[in-house]
């Protein structure tokens, strides 16, 4: 049966049917080059994070002093180095550490955004929909949070709490909800006056149903765009904190931590300082491009 089916498939789909599909993809790429680059970069970094154990050529934490600061294999004149991107100060493979480091960056990005998104969306909906003193209260808190730079806040908290990935995620979530809340509040205020919302109210819809059925679906695209851009920002913030020694545990492979390690070897081993930074840049650029593209697709006038 299987052989029969295999033979059947090309007959059912004429040769010409394949072309338009490829052409469609090609047209899509030609129309949205930046968006496609963004998608590719995001897919690459997410796959690195998800399949790190299988992709990474070496054990990321296995130290080997004989290969200490070994140069990248293609730049090694002696031809001894087996490491494509070189090795760090205790001889661990840089490429494997970068691949495993993707896990930390993306975890912080995704979970941080989920927490801030949930808090921000709920408070933004309440603030915009119910208004009055609730709105005043929530927006006053938002003002205060905005006046306090995240880096300083995080430095204070992390210096007391000590390193840890979940601590960073929670701090990010608890400070960045403001962006979501303000964005959603603004949209809800204008949506509230729309006729279909007024109509839903007139026929006796409860506040909960109106928010769930008529308001939330209309703010989803903005939430998605801001969320994508915040992933990029959170990855940068985590790397900075870890670089300062206030982020994730230094024994776990992370991009910020690798750059912190590399500081003392900038003069002798340029690769240790270069490649983790390239990894951060490409990942963050990917999410920024994706966010830009999503925004242009949904609503070019979105104030983001």
């Amino acid at each position: 049966m299987t052989t029969l089916e295999l033979e059947k498939t090309p007959q059912q789909q004429p040769v010409t049917a394949k072309k338009p599909f490829m052409k469609k993809i090609w047209n899509f790429i030609k129309k949205n080059p930046a968006g496609v680059i963004g998608i590719v970069l995001v897919v690459l970094s997410v796959s690195a994070a998800l399949f790190a154990q299988w992709i990474a050529p070496f054990d990321p934490s296995k130290a080997n002093l004989t290969s200490r600061l070994a140069p990248p294999s293609w730049a090694d004149e002696t031809g001894e180095s087996v490491f494509f991107l070189g090795a760090d100060q205790v001889g661990r493979d840089l490429l494997s550490r970068i691949i495993h480091g993707a896990k930390i960056s993306l975890m912080v990005g995704f979970f941080g955004v989920i927490i801030s998104m949930v808090i921000g969306t709920v408070l933004g909906l309440i603030s915009g929909y119910f208004g009055k003193w609730l709105d005043d209260f929530i927006m006053r808190i938002a003002d205060i949070q905005l006046a306090f730079p995240f880096m300083l806040f995080a430095i204070v908290i992390m210096s007391v709490l000590g390193t840890g990935i979940w601590k960073i995620i929670i701090i990010l979530g608890l400070t960045y909800w403001v962006g979501f809340a303000r964005l959603i509040r603004g949209e809800v205020i204008s949506l509230k006056e729309q006729e279909y919302v007024q109509a839903a109210k007139a026929i006796g819809g409860t506040n909960f149903t109106i928010i769930r059925k008529h308001i939330l679906p209309n703010v989803m695209s903005s939430i998605l765009v801001l969320g994508t851009m915040y992933i990029a920002e959170f990855i940068l913030l985590e790397a900075s904190l870890t670089f300062l020694g206030l982020g994730v545990d230094p024994t776990i492979p992370s991009w910020g931590g690798m750059l912190a390690d590399s500081r003392n070897y900038v003069t002798s081993a340029w690769w240790t300082a270069t490649f983790p930074g390239v990894a951060i840049m490409l990942t963050v650029l990917g999410f920024n491009l994706l966010g830009d593209w999503l925004r242009d697709r949904f609503d070019p006038n979105m104030k983001l």
Partner: protein, 326 residues
């Protein structure tokens, strides 16, 4: 709010006065809230004394002694009261390690941090203005495309990595500039570029969009129709009007710039307040951490206040009424 209105009546009863007073009160509220957050997050997330001693085994007397010296034996609201009283009189307590007043330690370092912050803003403007203006004038061309790519890349890499790369290229390989220290103008160049680069990416985007907005205005078309040369119109008429949102933005970004100095100072061994804070963290010197962070936060809030007020004075179109919120 009743209080600002009453005060404004007292001061002459203009709407402007009411606005200024409301902004002042709001600023005080924000500073108060920040002090509250910093104070309690340090106190509630752990016992500063036990963390300070985490390296060795202290005797009970030693711990008690330190607690008394730091005033940690008093109830927490009393401690906060003392802390607030200190804030008002610019007294941030004494360093746990050196015994020096925290305010003196900060003042010693303030010059270096301000030099770095202004260096960063200068670099950001030097890059962002030409890029943004060219992108707007040559809209839709290759120049515009490159300008936008530049802005996007500018916000996509961590500034500390840029700092490391600059050291690698200009200090280690080319040996053109020093990689660390604070002695001459040359020492300021690499840190300023590091700090200003990210800001320049965001700023170039803003300059571009405000230029585009202004260039569609009637007075620009009028100037053009009078036969004034293109660049004269762009600089004299368009750019001058596009400057206002840019300046406001720079003021608002001052905070994240100060946050950025913490990292940049760490990379270039720059003797500023950021480095003071990081050193204090490594030494578990809580009064210094607390004082340094509050100092930076207050500077930032005050700068925002000044920008906000001058903005309303410069541009009478800004609506003064309303709730004072965006």
């Amino acid at each position: 709010m009743l209080v600002p209105k009453a005060l404004a009546l007292f001061l002459g009863g203009t709407k402007m006065a009411a606005y200024i007073i409301r902004r002042l009160l709001h600023t005080i509220l924000v500073v108060f809230a920040i002090s509250l957050i910093i104070f309690f997050s340090i106190r509630l997330t752990g016992d500063p004394v036990s963390v300070m001693f985490s390296a060795g085994e202290p005797t009970k007397e030693a711990i008690e002694e330190v607690r008394r010296n730091l005033g940690l034996d008093k109830p927490i609201y009393v401690q906060y009261g003392i802390f607030l009283k200190g804030l008002v009189t610019f007294d941030l307590g004494e360093s746990f390690r050196s015994g020096m007043p925290v305010m003196d330690l900060i003042m010693e370092r303030l010059g270096a941090t301000l030099a770095l912050a202004f260096g960063g803003i200068t670099v950001a403007m030097l890059i962002a203005f030409p890029v943004g203006i060219l992108s707007a004038v040559k809209r839709g061309t290759g120049v515009d495309f490159f300008g936008r790519i530049f802005s996007l890349i500018g916000i996509s890499f961590p500034n500390f990595w840029l700092g490391i790369m600059l050291i690698l290229i200009f200090a280690v390989n080319l040996k053109w500039l020093p990689s660390s220290g604070f002695e001459s103008f040359e020492h300021l160049i690499l840190p300023s570029i590091t700090l200003g680069m990210i800001l320049s990416g965001i700023l170039a985007r803003l300059v571009r969009s405000s230029m585009l907005e202004v260039m569609n205005q009637q007075y620009v078309s009028t100037a053009k129709s009078k036969g004034i040369s293109d660049w004269a119109v762009i600089i004299k008429h368009a750019f001058r009007n596009a400057l206002l949102p840019t300046v406001t933005f720079l003021g608002l970004q001052f905070g994240s710039l100060l946050g950025g100095t913490v990292i940049v100072e760490q990379i270039f061994s720059w003797p500023g307040i950021g480095r003071l804070i990081i050193d204090a963290i490594n030494q578990r010197d809580y009064p210094v951490i607390q004082g340094g962070v509050i100092f930076l936060a207050v500077i930032m809030v005050v700068v925002n206040l000044i920008i906000d007020l001058s903005y309303t004075l410069i541009d009478p179109r800004i609506k003064i009424g309303g709730s004072g919120r965006a």
